[in-house]
């Protein structure tokens, strides 16, 4: 790898983490009162907000209505000031459109859409500060927001990125590690059954290493699901304490 040494001889990464160590995850549900569901997540320096509206009647053209399940509508956008170089447009560029599509696919696999025929669920994800793993932070925030909205899910959807340096898999890449041009694998997992909702890998990797890399990503996703579970439980405890039940 040119220039930066992503993994030191002692086995530490640029920010002092071990190879499979995750960044600190902090999250909160019910950030906004007006939306049906909302959540905020911080994964290290990456910060994401997710808002869910619905299920409601299908907006716009009727032709989009599905008679057997709900339509999932996603928009991924990044605040213009979220990156170190200012972005011109918050959404609508090729990358954001691709991300919106990925989010849609991920949540179609997880939400029990057949319970809401002829309706629509909106999931809007906003990246407020970007430092690698934007997609995974967005998915994790959106999962919490969907739960906050009370929409039934098959399981938590947890996402994490993984890279591969010096025969060692690294999990939860930061921006410096992601932009190095090495392998980067993004995975969204339904941890209980071990189902993969989304898998994407850029750059080349020897086939023999793929299994170890996926193994590492799956372990990371499972650890994140534990954190999300804790957040949900704590939120429920707070809410039930407030309502006095």
């Amino acid at each position: 790898m040119a220039g930066l040494e992503l993994l030191s001889d002692q086995g530490y990464r640029l920010d002092g983490r071990k190879a499979t160590e995750l960044r600190k995850v902090q999250a909160r549900m019910g950030v906004f009162a007006q939306a049906d569901g909302s959540a905020y997540i911080e994964q290290g320096n990456t910060k994401a907000l997710a808002v869910v509206y619905g299920p409601h009647e299908v907006r716009g053209s009727r032709s989009r209505t599905l008679n057997d399940r709900a339509v999932i509508n996603c928009q991924y956008s990044m605040a213009t000031f979220s990156t170190s170089e200012r972005k011109r447009r918050p959404h609508g560029d090729r990358k954001s459109t691709e991300m919106s599509l990925h989010l849609k696919q991920t949540f179609e696999a997880a939400v029990l859409t057949n319970l809401y025929p002829r309706s629509q669920i909106d999931i809007y994800v906003k990246i407020l500060q970007s430092d690698g793993g934007n997609y995974s932070a967005g998915v994790n925030a959106a999962t919490l927001a969907v739960i906050d909205a009370g929409i039934p899910l098959r399981d938590y959807v947890c996402a994490c990125t993984a890279g591969f340096v010096d025969e060692t898999p690294l999990t939860d890449l930061c921006h410096a590690e992601e932009s190095g041009g090495g392998t980067s694998l993004a995975m969204a997992l339904l941890p209980r059954g071990g189902h993969i909702a989304l898998l994407q890998m850029d750059a080349r990797l020897h086939q023999d290493h793929l299994e170890t890399l996926m193994e590492a990503a799956m372990t990371a996703c499972k650890s994140i699901s534990k954190v999300l579970d804790q957040v949900v439980r704590q939120h429920l405890q707070e809410v039930s304490a407030l309502t006095g039940e």
Binding site: Q26, A27, R28, V31, F32, A33, Q34, A35, Y40, E42, N45, K47, L49, V51, Y53, R59, N73, Q75, S77, A79, T80, F81, S82, T83, S84, R86, P90, G92, D122, Y124, K126, L128, Q129, S130
Partner: protein
């Protein structure tokens, strides 16, 4: 714009309340809702602030970039405004739905903030005619519950107060070309003087009276509103009438007087709060969206 629909009975209820100086949420006609301000929210920016006013939430980020001065003002830097009405605020803003409101808001922001009287634009100049600082002020609407202008203006003032522009050193090489060197030390930075930055007060005409900081419900009852930007000395820098209805000159005069009084009173507590937050330095627990 994000609006709500209310019934005739609700309208009458709100109108009668305003007439008796008692609004639906218990406020008087010149009272603001609970406001929360926090600065230094996004580390990728040079200055940022989040303001929540009732259920209205805005996040403002300021980024300083080196650009070329405008030909009409060669020894001054300038500000650029962009308002992102994100779909997070309301599903109506999805896709290009929020563009119209965004342009309307940012055009007003240019008039209110982007001039010599509110900021010392000369201090943004690096070398006349060649290089200057361009401040990109990006506003992100996260939740709309009326009174966007006031919340945005407070957030912009707080974000500009929080802005730290790195100091630059100009050096000339042998060919006479200028080289700009940015200071590496994060504490070696320039701060902006935000003393004269105005705050916007929006007054909504409801029935025969006008109210400050109208909620969406109250806005739905009002015929038109007046936007007034006021500095800490009570000077009015910009007045605009918005909304579909019409106002008679007499009520405009009354509203200006109220706006002046309310706007002037807004500055001192805000500045006190910003200085207090600044003095805490690194000891401050950042709350952000997690609080």
């Amino acid at each position: 714009m994000a609006t709500v629909q209310i019934s005739e009975a609700e309208k009458v209820y709100i109108l009668h309340g305003v007439r008796d100086d008692l609004r639906v949420d218990g406020r008087g006609c010149e009272d603001y809702r609970h406001m929360e301000v926090e600065t230094d929210m996004v580390s990728n920016t040079d200055g940022s602030a989040k303001v929540s006013l009732g259920h209205t939430d805005v996040l403002v980020g300021v980024k300083a970039e080196i650009g070329k001065p405008r030909p009409v003002a060669r020894d001054e830097g300038y500000l650029e405004f962009f308002v992102d009405c994100s779909a997070n605020a309301t599903p109506e803003f999805e896709g290009r739905g929020g563009d119209e409101l965004g342009v309307e808001l940012s055009n007003t922001l240019y008039k209110v903030f982007g001039n010599r009287s509110s900021l010392d634009l000369k201090s943004l100049c690096i070398s006349p005619g060649e290089h200057c600082w361009v401040l990109y002020v990006d506003v992100l609407l996260l939740q709309c519950d009326g009174n966007l202008f006031d919340a945005i203006s407070v957030a912009i003032k707080a974000a500009l107060f929080n802005t730290k522009i790195p100091k630059v050193h100009l050096s000339e090489d042998e060919q006479g070309g200028k080289e700009i060197e940015l200071s590496d030390d994060p504490y070696d930075c320039m701060r902006l003087n935000v003393e004269n930055v105005p705050c916007v007060v929006t007054l909504c005409k409801v029935g025969h009276r006008h109210v400050v900081d109208a909620t969406m419900q109250e806005k739905a009852c009002s015929v038109a509103s007046l936007i007034i930007s006021v500095t800490h000395k009570g000077t009015i820098t910009c007045v605009r009438k918005v909304g579909g209805g019409s106002l008679d000159p007499e009520s405009i005069f009354e509203m200006t007087e109220t706006g002046k009084r309310v706007g002037k009173a807004l500055h001192a507590p805000l500045m006190e709060l910003l200085h207090k937050e600044e003095s805490l330095g690194k000891k401050r627990d950042k709350v952000g969206f997690l609080g």
